[in-house]
Subunit: 478 residues, 2 copies
């Protein structure tokens, strides 16, 4: 009685999961469609008599090739196709040679010679796959090399028409590989390079969102902190995906290496530079992890000292977040970061660090008034210190993105069209900064005037001190 | 003229690389040997007439299976073999069914029905591979399922003896897979589970080495700091491999799931718990990355305040390092951490945190004597704060290792045989702590008496203050 109900639940669950995967990335549905299409195309070799007569039973290798070789990204598919093609070609030739060589030893000696050859090449090939450079790029090729060589030499012992066998295998594999490449490159292609590009700049955006959220929350004390914390779980967790992205980024960069030029990416796009930015982004995410720990143990009541450094620290967060957003935007649009507002914000964030340090240095008043308790200011000082590390790290990211922009020939931005000023695409911070303290100011004031920053600083600081006071953009504009 | 020289250089380079890989992990050479052996065994099917007569040309599938299925670890090989075997079985049965079903539609309708079936199953199967759970465990199985189904149905259109074809393919694949499994499990097996086990405890050791090195270096001020820094690059860099270990750990855990019980690992060993420890180790490594940043910008001259907190901070480092070492040792030997010295050291490190906090709280003297410059104490305070985070993290690691010890039924340690007291295996810190300040004391005193810690603390602190003064273990013993 219970079984049909459970089955129904299971089916509903699977359908929901499928819908979710399809919705998150419709290219996955396309990919499944493309594999089905290639398989059907290839099976025409069997159904259509004239084609079948040319290849016979060997046509099955084409089917096998399609299933094994078709990968999600175009780069991965190309890499496998080319590896398979070249490996089959060379190993086939070598295998035929080995067969004729073994023939010299007579009917008795042949299997022994063949056995030794297969063992040697199998072992050598397998060991070669441990070389990091080979593994990264030619792993599949070596596998197919060993496979083809073994198959040709071993079956050559029984089959007389070994040349024909090798030739049929090669041509069917080439047909299968060509079908895969064409379908993969033409029907809604998934570019690994584009994915890497997107991954790197969304990671920067995630870091920026964290910093923005942290800056607007940590130094503000309100009664409903619990609610705020709950609503912030999104941005607090997003940096975690950055932390463990190394394997994905490297795989994508490897696949991207195989891809032809497409869109704004040329054939020799500096994919390695993306990996360097990725390393720095992970370093930055590491610091954010430390910050998120402090966020949870945020003191209930602000100390005197905390109020003093609040302005500088908030500025550090907000400005460094803006640097990251500008950098992400300049990668996204492939414009030079030096022509964006990133540099200005970076300077501002460094100025905030100096502000903070001068507050620290000028503690005499606190000392005299005996208001200073080191234990109490301990968390705030640590947070500030981590923020300084973050800014140093962002400095390095800035340089790295600049290197990328030079290597990849990013274009100059026209009319200073900064990310935050483009009205048609509201940046994601709108959804995030639910208190709307800083954003309205930035939209109107900061970007147009470029260097006119004091107004914002006072404004955001003031608003922060006043709790949840909503600043009307129109008022600020005046 | 230049070519032979370059070729020679290249060959020498390749030989050196090969030697290095073989030396680092001799199991890789064994693996290559094993693949060669399996290939040679399988090719006997061709050379030996009675065996060949049974299978004919289909025997080539056995060769193919061996090359494709043989992986470095036993778990990966088993996973691929079982996936391949079951997928071939079910897909073969389904394929034969599909062929008879398509027969019902007559000679005209058959290719259309077959085409639709192949497309549908190909697309569905490909999409299924995107489900995270399926991808993790049955990715290869689905691939082979689609492959076999397509091959059987497509070639069924031309071959009349489809049942025989499916049967031959299945039995040759099973023979190939069985050969791989037997060779992989019997000849010098490489267990993914054992690798994971080893990886996790060496990661803890690496973290411990960093903390030990940091503790004995950061708070010591000597003239030849540059030399010290250079010699420390080893331990300063080791934690980095921990940071990016997620992918490796998860792959190993997946493979380990397939492995039968071996050595001290049972069939259902809690591999998932190792991943939990891994997550915490990475969190800890994140903090260490922050610390290593401060190590490079270490102040030349210690401030008054720094001298004050030095003792507590050094103790935090050394004690937390010992906790990690004990935990690593208890994982390594599969003994319960609660019966090791880990708990004692954890308590000591927490006591050091309290010491530090009470120093911070008692700043009145500093305030009155006006010796306190917040800007100057800033780096030291930050380092201490990160150390506190590290200890909190280690606390979590301790709990996690305890969970593991319960789930995996770790045995109780006999006679309190702690890692640091076992004389036959000198722990790696010997090579590391080149100043030999702390280690000799630990060997003789600390472990046996268990709680008698004051002597060491003073000693290491004193030695640290005195610069590079070498403490004779014999003297300390008295």
């Amino acid at each position: 009685m219970d079984f049909p109900k459970k089955l129904k639940e299971k089916i509903v669950e699977i359908v929901k999961k499928t819908m979710k995967i399809g919705k998150d990335d419709p290219r996955k549905i396309w990919h499944a469609f493309k594999v089905g299409l290639s398989l059907t195309l290839i099976s025409l070799f069997y159904y259509y008599r004239p084609l079948y007569d040319g290849f016979g039973q060997s046509a099955i290798w084409a089917v096998l090739t399609v299933v094994v070789v078709f990968e999600f990204t175009a780069g991965a598919t190309l890499s496998k196709c080319l590896n398979r093609g070249f490996a089959t070609l060379t190993a086939g030739a070598l295998g035929v040679g080995a067969k004729y060589f073994a023939d010299l030893f007579g009917k008795e000696g042949e299997p022994i010679v063949l056995g030794i050859l297969v063992f040697t090449l199998g072992a050598l090939g397998t060991f070669t796959r441990f070389f990091p450079h080979m593994k990264r790029r030619y792993d599949y090729g070596i596998l197919i090399f060993v496979l083809t060589f073994s198959m040709v030499t071993v079956s050559g012992y029984r089959v007389d028409k070994i040349l024909e066998l090798a030739h049929q295998r090669l041509s069917t594999i080439l047909i299968g590989a060509a079908t895969c490449m064409i379908v993969s490159l033409i029907v809604c292609p998934v570019w690994a390079g584009e994915d890497l590009h997107k991954l790197v700049y969304t990671h920067l955006e995630k870091l920026a969102n964290f910093l923005e959220g942290f800056g607007s929350e940590y130094f503000i004390f309100s009664e409903n902190d619990e609610i705020v914390k709950a609503s912030n779980e999104g941005f607090l967790g997003a940096y975690k995906t950055v932390l463990n992205s190394k394997a994905t980024e490297e795989a994508l960069a490897n696949f991207a290496w195989w891809e032809p030029g497409h869109g704004s990416f040329r054939l020799r796009h500096p994919w390695k530079q993306y990996l360097k930015i990725g390393v720095l982004a992970r370093e930055c995410a590491c610091h954010l992890q430390a910050l998120s720990g402090y966020f949870n143990s945020k003191p209930q009541v602000p100390s005197e000292f905390q109020k003093k450094i609040e302005e500088a620290c908030t500025k550090m967060c907000i400005e460094s977040s803006k640097v990251l957003k500008e950098l992400a935007f300049s990668i996204k649009t492939m414009t030079q970061p030096s022509s964006s507002a990133a540099e200005i914000h970076l300077r501002h964030s460094k100025a905030a660090v100096d502000d903070f340090k001068s507050i620290l240095a000028a503690t005499e008043t606190l000392l005299l008034s005996n208001k200073l308790d080191l234990l109490e200011i301990f968390p705030a000082i640590t947070v500030a210190s981590v923020l300084i590390d973050v800014i140093n790290c962002i400095d390095k990211i800035f340089e790295s993105v600049e290197d990328l922009s030079v290597q990849a020939h990013f274009k100059k931005a026209k009319n200073k069209e900064f990310s935050s000023s483009s009205p048609e695409k509201p940046p994601p911070q709108h959804q995030l900064l639910h208190r709307g303290i800083v954003k309205p100011v930035v939209d109107v004031d900061d970007v147009d005037s470029g260097g006119d920053f004091v107004a914002i600083e006072i404004c955001s600081g003031g608003a922060a001190l006043a709790g949840k006071a909503e600043v009307n953009p129109a008022v600020v504009k005046k």
